[in-house]
C-alpha cells in the first residue's frame, strides 16, 4: 500500500486541508467561492483515486456527484446569488485571521491526535483520510463560527460536508442510496439557505448575521 498510491492519496488529502485553511483567510466573497470550488474538485479527485485504488466503482459516482454538484453547480449558484444580493464588492473584515489560522492548525493536530490512535490496524490510506477528514470538518465548523457573513457561513458548511464525504469514502464508501440522499439533502439545504439569505437581506438590508442577534435582543 505504501508507495505511489499512498503518496497520491496523501497529497490529495493534504491539499484538501490546505484549501480549507485557505478559505479561512479569504476576505473577498468571489475568491472564497473559487476556493470552495477547488476544494470540491480536489475532493472529487481524492474520491476517484480511492475508487481506483480500492477498485470500488460505486465511489466513482460519489466523485461524479462531488464534481458536478459541488465543484460546478453550487459555486455557480453561489456566485449568482452573491451578484444578485449585490454584495460582490463587499470586503468582509476577517477578524484575527492569524489567530484563527493557528487555531485551525491546532484543530488539525487535535484531530490527528484523536483519530490516529483509534484507527489502529485500518489500511493506511483510509486511516489518513479519516484523520484529515475530521480536521476538514472541524475547520469548516470553525469557519462557520468565526464569520459574520451568511455567504461565508454557507461556504464553511459546504466544506464541512466535503469533509464528511471524505471520511465516508475513507470508510470504503457508504451505500449508494445513502450517498445520493446525502448529496440531495445538501442540495436542498443549500436551496433553503439560499432562500433564507434573500429573506434576511430583504428584512435587514445586510447578510451579516449579527443583525439577527440584534433582532433577537441577544446583543445590545
Amino acid at each position: 500500500m505504501h508507495g505511489l498510491a499512498f503518496d497520491i492519496a496523501h497529497m490529495l488529502a493534504g491539499a484538501l486541508v490546505l484549501l480549507s485553511l485557505m478559505m479561512l483567510y479569504q476576505d473577498r466573497l468571489y475568491a472564497l467561492i473559487n476556493v470552495l470550488a477547488l476544494h470540491a474538485l480536489v475532493l472529487a479527485m481524492s474520491v476517484a483515486w480511492q475508487a481506483w485504488v480500492h477498485d470500488a466503482p460505486h465511489l466513482y459516482i460519489t466523485a461524479g456527484i462531488a464534481l458536478v454538484f459541488k465543484a460546478i453547480v453550487i459555486p455557480m449558484a453561489l456566485r449568482r446569488m452573491v451578484f444578485q444580493l449585490r454584495i460582490h464588492r463587499e470586503i468582509e473584515r476577517v477578524v484575527g485571521s492569524g489567530l484563527t489560522m493557528l487555531a485551525a492548525i491546532a484543530l488539525v493536530a487535535l484531530s490527528l491526535e484523536v483519530m490516529l490512535p483509534v484507527t489502529e490496524g485500518v489500511d493506511p490510506v483510509s486511516r489518513e483520510d479519516i484523520a484529515l477528514a475530521l480536521s476538514v470538518v472541524l475547520i469548516g465548523l470553525l469557519m462557520m463560527v468565526t464569520r459574520h457573513n451568511a455567504v461565508s457561513q454557507v461556504a464553511g458548511f459546504m466544506s464541512l460536508e466535503n469533509g464528511i464525504v471524505l471520511a465516508a469514502t475513507g470508510a470504503q464508501g457508504m451505500p449508494l442510496v445513502v450517498e445520493i440522499s446525502v448529496a440531495f439533502s445538501v442540495l436542498i439545504a443549500f436551496i433553503v439557505i439560499g432562500i433564507f439569505l434573500f429573506r434576511i437581506r430583504e428584512r435587514f438590508d445586510t447578510v451579516d448575521v449579527e443583525a439577527l442577534d440584534k433582532f433577537r435582543g441577544e446583543r445590545r
Binding site: L4, F6, M11, I105
Partner: protein
C-alpha cells in the same frame, strides 16, 4: 579532497561573479514585462564599479560602526552564499555550517545593517531598521518551521546531505515538500526585500525598508552593501534550487563532465528563479507594512501543516 577544494573555491568566486548578473537579469526582464527597454543585464556591474570609484561621503554623526558594518554585511553574506551547494554537493567546507547556521549568518548581516541604520541618528534610518527587524522576527519562526519540515524529510540539516537525500528515488511524492517550497519562497521574498514586502526600486520615503536603512551610505560602502544584497538574492535562489530541485547537481565522486552538467543545471535553475521572480513582481502590488505579518503567517502555517502531514504519513 583536491576536487572538493577546487569545487569550493570555484563556487566561492562564481557566486561573487554572477550575483550582480542575476539582479541585472531580473531588472531587465521586469522592464521588458512593463514594456520598457530597461538597462542592460550588465548594468549592476557598471553601477558597482562606478560606486567604487566615487568618493565616500560620511555623515558627521557616524561612528566606527558605520564604517565597519558594510564589510561585516558583505563578508557574512558572501560566506553564507559560498556554503550553499550550487553546482556540486561536495564542497570542502560544507561541514562548517548547516542550514540553520547559514540562516543565522545572514541574521548577523541583518543585525549589523539594522545597527548601522541607527548609527547616524536620522528618522529614516530608524524607520527602515525598525521595520526590518519586525519583518525578520516574523520570517525567522516561519523559516525554522520550514527547515524542520525539510529536515524531517531529509533526515539532516546539512545542505549537501539534504540535496543528496532529496535526489534519492525512494522519496516519492511529498505534499509537505510542496508546502515547504511555497513557504520558503514567501520567506525568501520577505528576506530579500522584494515586492510585495518591500520594493527594491522605491525611493518613496514612507514605503522604504531596505533602502531607508542604506540611505546615508555612499561610494565604496554602498557598493559593498549593494553587492551583499545581490549575493543574498543569488544565495536564496541557489538554496531553493539546492533543496527543492537538486536535479543535475554533481554529487560526491562524480567526474568532470558531471560538474559541467551541474553548472549548466544551476544556470538554468537560477534563470528560471529569476524569471519567476520578475513575473511575480510584475503582476503583484506592494502590500501595506502591516499586511506583511499575514503574508509571513501563511509561510508559518505552511510549515506547521507540512510537519503535521509528514507526521501522519510517517506514522502509518
Amino acid at each position: 579532497m583536491i576536487q572538493a577544494l577546487a569545487a569550493q573555491g570555484t563556487q566561492m568566486f562564481l557566486v561573487l561573479l554572477l550575483a550582480p548578473l542575476l539582479t541585472g537579469y531580473v531588472r531587465r526582464l521586469k522592464a521588458r514585462l512593463q514594456r520598457r527597454r530597461g538597462p542592460s543585464v550588465l548594468q549592476p556591474y557598471r553601477d558597482l564599479l562606478r560606486l567604487l570609484r566615487k568618493e565616500v561621503v560620511l555623515p558627521e554623526t557616524s561612528s566606527w560602526l558605520f564604517r565597519a558594518a558594510p564589510y561585516a554585511i558583505f563578508s557574512t553574506t558572501w560566506v553564507a552564499a559560498a556554503l550553499v551547494p550550487t553546482f556540486a554537493t561536495e564542497l570542502l567546507f560544507s561541514w562548517s555550517g548547516d542550514l540553520i547556521a547559514i540562516i543565522a549568518l545572514l541574521g548577523t548581516a541583518r543585525f549589523m545593517q539594522a545597527l548601522a541604520a541607527l548609527d547616524v541618528g536620522t528618522s529614516f534610518g530608524g524607520i527602515g531598521s525598525s521595520r526590518e527587524v519586525m519583518i525578520a522576527s516574523l520570517a525567522e519562526p516561519a523559516l525554522t518551521m520550514l527547515v524542520f519540515t525539510i529536515a524531517l524529510i531529509a533526515g539532516t540539516t546539512q545542505l549537501s546531505e539534504m540535496a543528496a537525500a532529496l535526489l534519492s528515488p525512494t522519496l516519492g511524492l511529498r505534499v509537505s515538500l510542496a508546502l515547504a517550497l511555497i513557504g520558503f519562497v514567501i520567506v525568501a521574498i520577505a528576506e530579500n526585500a522584494r515586492i510585495p514586502v518591500d520594493n527594491p526600486a522605491t525611493h518613496l520615503e514612507l514605503t522604504m525598508v531596505h533602502e531607508a536603512m542604506v540611505l546615508e551610505y555612499s561610494g565604496r560602502y554602498l557598493a559593498l552593501i549593494e553587492f551583499a544584497a545581490a549575493l543574498k538574492l543569488l544565495m536564496y535562489a541557489s538554496l531553493i534550487a539546492c533543496i527543492f530541485c537538486p536535479w543535475g547537481i554533481a554529487t560526491a565522486g562524480s567526474g568532470l563532465a558531471k560538474y559541467g552538467i551541474g553548472m549548466a543545471a544551476w544556470a538554468v535553475k537560477i534563470l528560471a528563479a529569476g524569471t519567476a521572480l520578475a513575473v511575480f513582481e510584475t503582476v503583484i502590488a506592494k502590500m501595506r507594512v502591516f499586511r506583511v505579518p499575514d503574508f509571513l503567517g501563511i509561510a508559518l502555517m505552511l510549515g506547521l501543516l507540512g510537519t503535521l502531514l509528514l507526521f501522519v504519513s510517517r506514522s502509518l
